[in-house]
């Protein structure tokens, strides 16, 4: 009886020490990512074949055929468990889901949106997690090289004071959401050779009133739209600003609307966004 018990205990202790270390040393082969930005990073560093399911908002063409497991607010945990992942990438606020996965001994990688530097550091971290350190380093270094190259190229140019808008009510200038002085959008604007007019607001999203916009008098206004839109709609959106006719941006015709899903995804396509904004701010530098 005692011999049996001690054998069982020994087996249990052995199992306890061997299992997690084995799991840690193994490279994950069944990754689920519910964060589109991270999914893009995984594909960029060549870990795409290890991805088995993605978020319902994911638009990457490589992931088109993969199963969807919900997103930030509605992750389908049952589906996730049934897919038997060995790494799940969650957003930092999904604390309950993280707890469930941890209890089931499924490794979790949590991510939160941060600034521009956070994109490359996340790519490197993902490289370590997925056994693709070298490729991740290459991708991150390429982003850093492009950004630095652009900074050098635009170094001696005047930096237009820019209002970077990412949301407002349709047809009118109401409820404007613009980039404040910290975070990803602020960083890409600065990297593209602009000065953020709301740089002194210590928040990622700022909501300036029409009085504030008039008083700030931006030289350039850039609106970012994640969803596809028509030329007509863009023309209408640009025209809506004309009621603020004292704004230098309006007087000189420097009001732009940029569209594309990459605009709101702080992922590996970040240099494309910076490039597009830089071309608007400094057309003669290219």
């Amino acid at each position: 009886m005692t011999a049996r018990l001690s054998t069982f205990l020994m087996a249990a202790v052995l199992l306890y020490f061997t299992l997690p270390s084995a799991a840690q040393s193994r490279v994950p082969q069944r990754i689920i990512s519910v964060v589109p930005a991270v999914t893009e990073m995984l594909y960029a560093i060549g870990a795409g074949r290890q991805v088995i399911a993605v978020s319902s908002f994911d638009q990457s063409p490589e992931a088109a055929a993969l199963p969807r497991v919900g997103a930030l607010l509605d992750p389908d945990m049952e589906r996730m468990f049934s897919l038997q992942p060995d790494l799940v990438i969650l957003y930092g606020s999904q604390i309950d889901e993280e707890g469930q996965l941890t209890r089931a001994q499924i490794p979790v990688f949590t991510y939160r949106h941060g600034d521009l530097g956070h994109v490359t550091s996340t790519i490197r971290l993902l490289g370590k997690q997925t056994g693709r350190t070298y490729d991740a380093d290459m991708v991150a270094a390429a982003i850093e090289r492009d950004v630095t190259g652009l900074r050098v190229r635009l170094r001696d140019r005047p930096r237009p004071r820019t209002l970077l808008v990412f949301g407002r009510e349709p047809d009118t200038i109401r409820n404007v959401y613009a980039s404040g002085g910290i975070g990803f959008l602020h960083d890409i604007l600065e990297a593209a050779g602009g000065t953020n007019v709301l740089a002194n607001v210590q928040r990622e999203a700022a909501q300036p009133s029409s009085e504030t916009i008039l008083a700030l008098a931006p030289d350039v206004i850039i609106e970012l739209r994640a969803e596809a839109t028509t030329e007509n709609k863009i023309a209408g959106d640009t025209k809506a600003w004309e009621q603020f006719s004292t704004l230098p941006a309006v007087r000189s015709g420097h009001v732009y609307v940029l569209t594309g899903s990459e605009l709101v995804i702080p992922g590996p396509r970040v240099t494309d966004i910076i490039g597009r904004i830089a071309q608007l701010l400094h057309p003669d530098a290219f």
Binding site: R168, P170, L198, E211, T212, A215, A226, K233
Partner: protein
């Protein structure tokens, strides 16, 4: 001081009392509306703002005064007056002190309309009126239509019981649809929709005001006729009828004028809470329950209160904007509780 003056006047001619209250409340709200555009986060030169020798397209002071501040003050006054007036009328019509302009489903209908446009991006703009206010007004009218039809369905008169229940049910139904639409929407659109519900008077042009004004004027004109029959109606439909009140006509006019005022106010500033329930009670605590005094005084006080709240909204967190719906409750709540305790 003012309160004591009123009690002394109590036995004198009522008409005189109405006049005094109207002048005091009217003058106060007019003064506040006139001073409001002078206050703001940016220092501006008034001389430059009114200098017609500088072209408007180059005059920043003038644009801040005439585009950013003046329409806001006007919108605040109209929305405040509309919501407070609708609150008084509905509290009398439903004989329920907890009734608000939003009780009968009008604001939920308005919100549903606005949120559908924000999230589905329906290009609904007609004759220069932006899509969101238009859709919210259409939404509020649909809610009014549904509630009214239900209340008339089985009865000769207008059943206030069914009116109330239908309104409350419609509120939950519309809220559920709103949540469903928001749940399916993407992140930035949901945020825009939530922001709309918090209320915003930064209209940044006169066109929304001009398009809401005719409806508000019609509602206010009906309000001038309502006080006397409403006084009798608060005693109950039967006793009002025995005193010669055409009950159905009064109920119908009260319901439509209040709904029209609410719908126009919400399309202009969003569903700003608290004004429509608290202002009527504050006024009643100050000047008594006679609707001939309460209704006009509520219109004036509602206007003044919302304009003051909006000054706070645009200056407290400057250069950022604070949603005005947050301030109305935060400023009005404690004040009302204080008034409640002091009076009892």
């Amino acid at each position: 001081m003012i309160l004591r003056a009123y009690t002394k006047l109590d036995r004198r001619d009522l008409r005189w009392r109405i006049g005094v209250v109207n002048i005091i409340f009217g003058a106060t709200s007019l003064l506040i509306c006139l001073l409001a555009p002078l206050v703001g986060p940016t220092p501006i030169s008034l001389r430059a703002a009114f200098d017609s020798s500088i072209p408007f397209t180059e005059n920043v002071d003038a644009q801040i005064f005439f585009i950013a501040r003046l329409p806001r003050a006007l919108a605040g006054a109209l929305v405040g007056a509309g919501l407070a007036g609708a609150g008084v009328v509905l509290q009398a019509l439903l004989r329920n002190p907890l009734a608000t302009p939003f009780t009968l489903g009008v604001s939920a209908g308005a919100s549903l309309g606005a949120i559908l446009v924000i999230i589905l991006g329906i290009p609904l703009s007609v004759a220069g009126i932006p899509a969101v206010p238009l859709a919210s007004f259409v939404g509020s009218l649909s809610a009014v239509g549904i509630v009214y039809t239900l209340a008339r369905f089985r009865q000769q008169g207008l059943s206030t019981g069914i009116l109330l229940l239908a309104g409350v049910t419609l509120n939950s139904l519309f809220s559920a649809i709103i949540m469903f639409v928001q749940y399916l929407a993407d992140y930035t659109q949901s945020f825009q929709a939530i922001r709309w519900v918090m209320g915003n008077l930064d209209v940044s042009s006169y066109s929304p005001i001009v398009s809401a004004l005719p409806f508000l004027i019609v509602a206010f004109l009906i309000f001038t006729w309502l006080p006397k029959p409403l006084n009798l109606l608060t005693l109950g439909a039967e006793s009002a009828a025995t005193r010669g009140v055409d009950v159905l006509r009064t109920q119908r006019l009260a319901f439509f004028s209040a709904s029209l005022a609410t719908g126009a106010a919400v399309s202009l500033g969003g569903p700003i809470g608290f004004v429509g329930i608290i202002i009527p009670h504050v006024v009643r605590l100050l000047v008594g329950a006679d609707h001939r005094i309460v209704l006009p005084a509520s219109l004036f006080l509602g206007a003044a209160f919302l304009v003051i709240c909006d000054i706070a909204a645009r200056t407290l967190l400057s250069p950022l904007e604070l949603p005005v719906g947050i301030i109305t409750a935060m400023l009005g709540g404690p004040f009302f509780l204080w008034l409640l305790v002091r009076k009892r």
